[in-house]
């Protein structure tokens, strides 16, 4: 496995050749066309763009060729549109679906979205902007959850920045703390529209990341980070409140290693337990065993085993009510055998 990063780096180098720095991809401008739309207002759009009403995808309806022009004009250079290279699109859009639903006919149907038509020599945006889509489709839920498919095929080439018209893209509210995890359970493909896993790893690769994000990104004051400020002073309170939440990212060793460095476990140089702990520890362990695991989860070497092993000095069954594992389970599990050394219940 050690060779994997090297091989991947080689693959990346190959894949990245021929790349150039991204400039914002401009929408198609009027300067791209040689066709004066304003001189043809008497025609219906589909007189020339005859394949558009049947087009279920962008790019499948070719632009009118010289033959179309020559239905009315002489065959000369002025009426022969230049060849245009094939374009690629990252939007899924069906003219068929839309033209039949806008409730208008002819050019009026097209004008619902194509408000400005391209003219030769004029500069300016003529591709319908996204707010033409949202004029009919509010897409509030989709935008709030960054559910860009199936309209957008890929958004990887755009920077993940809030869009002014769609404030929900900022993933505000409880999105970072709670909602994004809930959505990723069934909609990870949606997240992947904009974020590859190098982005997720910044926070979620808890076994390997060099720094927690609050330290790495101190300038992100608006971001709803979980461990802000001197979190170490309150981490034990949040952990007592919701230990499962900590465990969704951090395993035993994460807690225990720091506690060992601080002398809170393995030697008890700084015994954190209050006086009289021994008599109360069972109730406390029943209630919040994950807190105990922050220092005492050493398997068979755990301090718990010393007293609670079968025949040990504790002399009580430490399992909670309703415990149901039988001797078959015990003998199959090394952890059980730490106390049930003979493989028997008693």
């Amino acid at each position: 496995m050690r060779a994997l990063p090297i091989v991947l780096a080689a693959m990346l180098a190959a894949a990245c050749s021929n790349a150039r720095v991204q400039k914002p991809v401009p929408p198609r401008t009027a300067g791209d066309t040689t066709f004066p739309h304003s001189a043809h207002v008497d025609l219906d759009c589909t007189d020339c763009h005859s394949d558009i009403p049947k087009a279920e995808r962008l790019g499948v309806a070719p632009l009118p060729t010289g033959e179309k022009c020559q239905e009315c004009h002489d065959k000369d250079a002025a009426h022969t549109p230049p060849a245009r290279g094939k374009r690629e699109y990252t939007i899924n859009f069906s003219h068929t679906n839309h033209m039949s639903r806008v409730g208008k006919k002819g050019a009026d149907a097209c004008k619902t979205c194509h408000v400005v038509l391209p003219e030769p020599g004029e500069r300016g945006v003529t591709t319908p902007p996204m707010n033409r889509c949202t004029a009919c489709h509010y897409h509030q839920v989709e935008v709030a959850e960054a559910r860009c498919t199936p309209c957008h095929v890929s958004l990887k080439r755009y920077r993940a920045e809030p869009i002014a018209q769609f404030v929900e893209f900022s993933h505000t509210g409880n999105f970072i703390r709670k909602d994004h995890g809930r959505l990723a359970k069934n909609s990870a493909e949606t997240c992947a529209q904009c974020h590859d896993q190098t982005y997720c790893a910044t926070c979620h690769a808890t076994a390997t990341v060099p720094l927690r994000p609050e330290i790495r990104f101190p300038e992100n004051v608006r971001t709803d980070f979980i461990h802000r400020g001197d979190y170490v002073s309150i981490h034990q309170l949040d952990a007592a409140r919701d230990p499962a939440s900590c465990r969704k990212c951090h395993g035993t060793q994460f807690c225990e290693s720091c506690h060992a460095v601080q002398g809170l476990s393995r030697g008890l140089q700084n015994d954190p337990h209050p006086p009289g702990w021994l008599s109360r520890h069972s109730a406390e362990a029943r209630r919040d065993i994950i807190k105990c695991s922050g220092c005492h989860d050493q398997g068979a070497a755990s301090v718990c085993v010393q007293c609670h092993t079968v025949g040990g000095i504790a002399g009580v069954n430490p399992h909670p009510g309703g415990w149901h594992h039988d001797e078959g389970d015990i003998r199959k599990n090394a952890m059980c055998m730490a106390c049930h050394t003979t493989g028997r219940i008693r």
């Binding site: 359970k185 076994a207 390997t208 919701d242 465990r247 406390e284």
Partner: protein, 437 residues
């Protein structure tokens, strides 16, 4: 096995040779951090310098798959002063450290019906709990809006160390040397999503997780949405967690949700933990959140949950407001409170949090200030206040480049005075090879 790996890797490399990426995102962060830590009452001054890199080639054109993506994220560090005693759960006695966060190849096959991802990755699906593993994942889109995903691999340990067991193998959320699982799902666009999933993890032969999960999301009329998820431990035959929320996003200026959650925390311990046999605590939370935009420039987020536990009822609440004075200039304030439901003798009590922050950007410069204070109900080392203030100055000096200096000072229960300094040079760039509209 080594020969098999070499052949597989060679095939991948050859395949990549003919590939050309459409979009490449490259990020490099060179970061110097001067930081003080209290280790058993002694001051440790660390001065590590990090190089953190990630590069992703997306939409790669190949003859054998569509939308191929190759991603690599890794870092290295050198301690220039004291060696950091603790690095996110792993110990080191060497000045030089580093690791790989993500390294995978992903591609779509069968006319985008099948997605395959191989390498170091994370799996978010269903009840997998974002497990970080070295392995593979597939997602197959079946007819009639059904689908299935599956994964298998070895959960990640730092520095490619020993898998599973105590130690490195349990720094992440899955103590196991092998994990597998999957999810079957069905969706009706804009109406319904429902899935059933499983997660099986083995720690050197012993069961670490044996969970069944379910999740759903229903889009109701009037911009209401009902969502929920749950997992059930097959090994202990108990419900580990179940949660549901009803959210309303009917207006851009007001969104709200009501939530309920039941959790049995001990089921988040690996079943190989000796401590997993002592507890069966149950907890419940009920509450909700709201997001208001009373003014165009003002956003308020509020959140409240009642914590229903055996010792009593606790409360968790948070409020945050951000006022945007002009683009790239905003101020904010946040307050939070935790009232413990009783808790245990260890880590009992609650706290208040108050925070104020602001950001201002002009031209290539950005300045931020962030002051965070925690007021502890029960003092630590005789102190009940942790106060830290951070200021940053950033400068974007050319396209894709940014340099930033940050200073953090304050007083905490562990350090009466401390001051950390961070300096970083960030390069973040997107490259394209084709024009795509």
């Amino acid at each position: 096995m080594n020969r098999l790996r070499l052949v597989a890797l060679a095939m991948l490399a050859i395949a990549a040779g003919a590939a050309r990426a459409d979009t490449i995102r490259a990020n490099s962060t060179t970061l110097l951090l001067s930081r003080e830590n209290a280790i058993q009452g002694q001051l440790e001054h660390t001065l590590p310098i990090f190089e953190i890199m990630s590069i992703t080639a997306s939409d790669v054109s190949t003859s054998f798959a569509q939308d191929v993506e190759v991603a690599l994220s890794l870092w290295g560090a050198v301690d220039l002063n004291d060696v950091r005693a603790w690095q996110g759960g792993s110990f080191t006695d060497r000045r030089v450290s580093g690791d790989v966060d993500v390294a995978y190849v992903k591609g779509d096959l069968l006319d985008r019906r099948l997605t395959v991802r191989v390498g170091r990755q994370m799996v978010p699906d269903g009840t997998s709990r974002m497990v970080h593993l070295d392995g593979g994942q597939i997602r197959l889109r079946l007819p009639a809006n059904f689908g299935v995903s599956a994964f298998a691999g070895s959960p990640v340990s730092p520095r490619f160390g020993a898998r599973g067991g105590l130690g490195y193998g349990s720094i992440g959320n899955t103590r196991a040397n092998f994990a597998t699982g999957g999810r079957v799902f069905y969706y009706l666009p804009a109406r319904l999503e429902v899935g059933a999933s499983t997660m099986i993890a083995n720690d050197r032969g012993d069961p670490s997780r044996r969970d069944l999960g379910a999740d759903f999301r229903v889009f109701l009329p009037s911009s209401l949405q009902l969502a929920g998820s749950a997992f059930y431990s097959l090994y202990d035959e108990r419900l580990g967690e179940g949660e549901a929320s009803l959210s309303w996003r009917g207006s851009r200026r007001l969104q709200a949700a009501a939530e309920y959650r039941h959790v049995e925390p001990d089921l988040f311990l690996p079943r190989t933990s000796i401590l997993s046999v002592f507890a069966n605590d149950e907890r419940n939370e009920v509450g909700g959140w709201a997001r208001l935009e009373p003014l165009r420039a003002l956003v308020l987020d509020v959140d409240y949950h009642a914590l229903l536990e055996d010792p009593g009822t606790g409360h968790r609440a948070r409020a945050r407001g951000i006022y945007t004075l002009r683009p790239r200039t905003d101020v904010g304030a946040e307050a939070a409170v935790l009232v413990s439901p009783g808790g245990t003798q260890l880590a009992n009590g609650g706290y208040w949090m108050a925070r104020a922050f602001g950001a201002h950007g002009r031209g290539p410069f950005d300045v931020t200030v962030d002051v965070v204070s925690y007021f502890l109900e029960r003092s630590i080392n005789g102190e009940d206040l942790a106060l830290t203030a951070t200021g940053t100055v950033g400068w974007r000096f050319m396209q894709g480049f940014k340099v930033l200096v940050a200073g953090t000072g304050g007083t905490t229960p562990y350090l009466t005075r401390h001051f950390d300094v961070l300096a970083k040079l960030v390069y973040d760039q997107i490259y394209v090879t084709r024009e795509v509209r």
